[in-house]
């Protein structure tokens, strides 16, 4: 009986891969060009017509994209000497990334363990779940100064306080999705395990958790971004200068003088967020080998 995955000749497959890659790159170039066009087009139109809604457009509020890009290769004059802006931003991005990674690791591990615990003990779920949900309504970023001062008094390095803030933003999606994934195991797969007289731990380890991986990874993707956000915003009250958050606060002060600096920083921050996200996507592709999703 022939299998569905028939063996194609190797050259066919290689050609197909190259073609897909070319398509993807082409699409990317197209999208970037479209965004560039939209930006400059909007800018030109609003300045030309002098419209002031939703906001006035000029070189300060919407600098030219090429000005922003050019600024990356200049040495910034607003108080931070040294290398060209791009290099400084990359260092800052790396600094922030480290905080985010630590926060992500802490938050994701805690979130996962909490999710497993909640799934196994109904009483715990009833008792804690409302607070887990409510925890996200606490504007942690407003509590940040307090967290930083308190941990500082315990002689904790400021960057670690930022990591803690990042982990707070990370754990929630992971907990909720781990719980949901563990609870949504196929009924018959559970019956099968029962027919093997499998113990609770075996069922958890061999069935529930692997089946929950897609849910967990979708949460990790959200958490990756959240950890970056936590790290960037957390840096401000901690008076950390070396990270992206510090650069944002700094350039914000001198915005009217050099708007391009802030925009350039945001560009790098955006790329950092996307890079984090892509790392998780890559890990997911390796770890989770499932049938491709079918969408209508």
């Amino acid at each position: 009986m022939a299998t569905i995955a028939a063996e194609q000749p190797a050259e066919h497959r290689r050609a197909a891969v190259v073609r897909t890659a070319a398509e993807r790159v082409g699409m990317l170039v197209l999208v970037l060009a479209a965004l560039w066009g939209l930006w400059e087009g909007y800018r030109w139109l609003w300045i030309h017509e002098g419209w002031t809604w939703p906001f006035t457009v000029d070189s300060t509020t919407m600098p030219h994209i090429h000005d922003i890009l050019r600024q990356l290769f200049r040495k910034p004059t607003s108080g931070v000497g040294g290398d060209i802006l791009l290099v400084q931003l990359l260092h800052a991005a790396w600094f922030t990334a480290k905080e985010a990674i630590v926060g992500f690791a802490l938050g994701a591990s805690f979130g996962f363990l909490l999710g497993v615990a909640l799934s196994q003990f109904r009483l715990l779920q009833r008792g804690l779940l409302p607070y887990v949900v409510a925890s996200q309504t606490v504007p942690i970023l407003a509590v940040a100064p307090i967290v930083v001062v308190y941990l500082g008094s315990l002689h904790v390095a400021p960057w670690f306080s930022v990591a803690v803030i990042a982990s707070y933003l990370t754990f929630f999606p992971v907990t909720i999705n781990t719980l949901r994934g563990l609870q949504s195991t196929n009924r018959q797969a559970l019956e099968l395990m029962r027919s093997y007289a499998a113990g609770r731990l075996s069922v958890l380890w061999k069935l529930r958790i692997p089946a929950a991986l897609p849910y967990i990874f979708s949460a990790l993707k959200v958490s990756a971004t959240a950890s970056i956000v936590g790290a960037i915003i957390g840096e401000a009250p901690s008076s950390i200068q070396q990270g992206l958050g510090g650069f944002i606060v700094n350039f914000n002060q001198y915005y009217s003088l050099n708007p391009e600096n802030l925009w350039a920083t945001n560009l790098i921050a955006a790329l950092l967020g996307i890079a984090f996200f892509l790392v998780i996507v890559l890990v997911e592709a390796i770890v989770v080998r499932r049938a491709p999703e079918h969408v209508a």
Binding site: Q183, L244, N266
Partner: protein, 274 residues
């Protein structure tokens, strides 16, 4: 694995009182936890000599709240309006664009990876720029931040919901001679509703965060975020914690509001996972 049809247990009918009673019992463990946490918090401040200015006792926070309740509640209301406005604009736009992208599906499919990537951008970093665009003392600047924060998650999740319909349901509608609009109304949108509500609940949280953190970078003195920030920097932590409590309260109320609408709208979805 292929999903086998799961026998859904019908929701047992009982008297209304019986059902409410049963649900009320479910909440007891949560209440127990709340009481225990409060007691532990109250006592450990004294026992462990935790600096009172950092983490005041709950009773202190409560009395501070009571003294300043007018100021706090109206500040909270101010910020909540920003969040609500941003939520409405961002979610509304997200839903609209999702419907459009689901209608022209090949376009939507091509854009999907980019939308997902855009969702990964730390939008909050744009807060200072929003303050440069709009008057930082106006509600509009924070609404803009909240709106952008809400837009992408709602868009991505709604689009996913609209396109994750069984191909056979679509074929069925075609066989009835139904056009695109009919198919949307009767199949795609109902299928998407659970996804939409999940996204909306997330959006309430994001909108509140956007409003408060936005105020961090500059906002009206009558705003809650500004209040919390200024009290923190002047070491008036009792007031700061009271402000945080108010922010929580508004946030929870917002979330619950959407959750209630969801419960009423989605009565036909069997509750799985118990």
């Amino acid at each position: 694995m292929t999903t086998a049809p799961v026998a859904v247990q019908p929701i047992p009918r009982g008297t209304l009182a019986g059902r409410v009673g049963r649900h009320a019992l479910d909440w007891i463990p949560a209440l127990v936890v709340l009481v225990v946490v409060f007691v532990v918090w109250q006592e450990s401040i004294a026992v462990f000599h935790i600096k009172r200015f950092l983490a005041p006792q709950p009773t202190d926070i409560a009395s501070t709240f009571w003294t300043n309740r007018h100021e706090l509640i109206s500040a909270g209301w101010f910020t909540f309006q920003e969040a609500l406005g941003g939520f409405a604009i961002g979610s509304g736009l997200g839903l609209l664009i999702a419907l459009i992208l689901a209608r022209w599906r090949s376009f939507g499919r091509a854009l999907m990876p980019y939308l997902i990537a855009a969702n990964a951008i730390p939008i909050i970093a744009f807060a200072p720029i929003m303050n440069a665009w709009f008057d930082p003392f106006s509600k509009g600047s924070k609404m803009a931040i909240a709106a952008v924060l809400c837009f992408f998650p709602v868009l991505v999740n709604t689009l996913r919901g609209l396109t994750s319909v069984h191909p056979q349901s679509i074929e069925l509608m075609r066989s009835y001679g139904a056009g695109e609009i009919e198919t949307f109304r009767r199949v795609r949108i109902p299928t998407a509703l659970p996804f939409i509500f999940t996204a909306l609940k997330i959006a309430t949280v994001l909108a509140m965060i956007g409003a408060i953190v936005g105020e961090y970078f500059g906002g009206a003195f009558t705003a809650l975020g500004v209040l919390i920030d200024s009290r923190s920097t002047t070491f008036q932590f009792k007031e700061a914690w009271a402000g945080i409590g108010v922010a929580c309260a508004y946030g929870i109320a917002f979330y619950l509001g959407v959750a209630i609408v969801e419960r009423l709208t989605l009565r036909w979805v069997p509750s799985t996972g118990e």
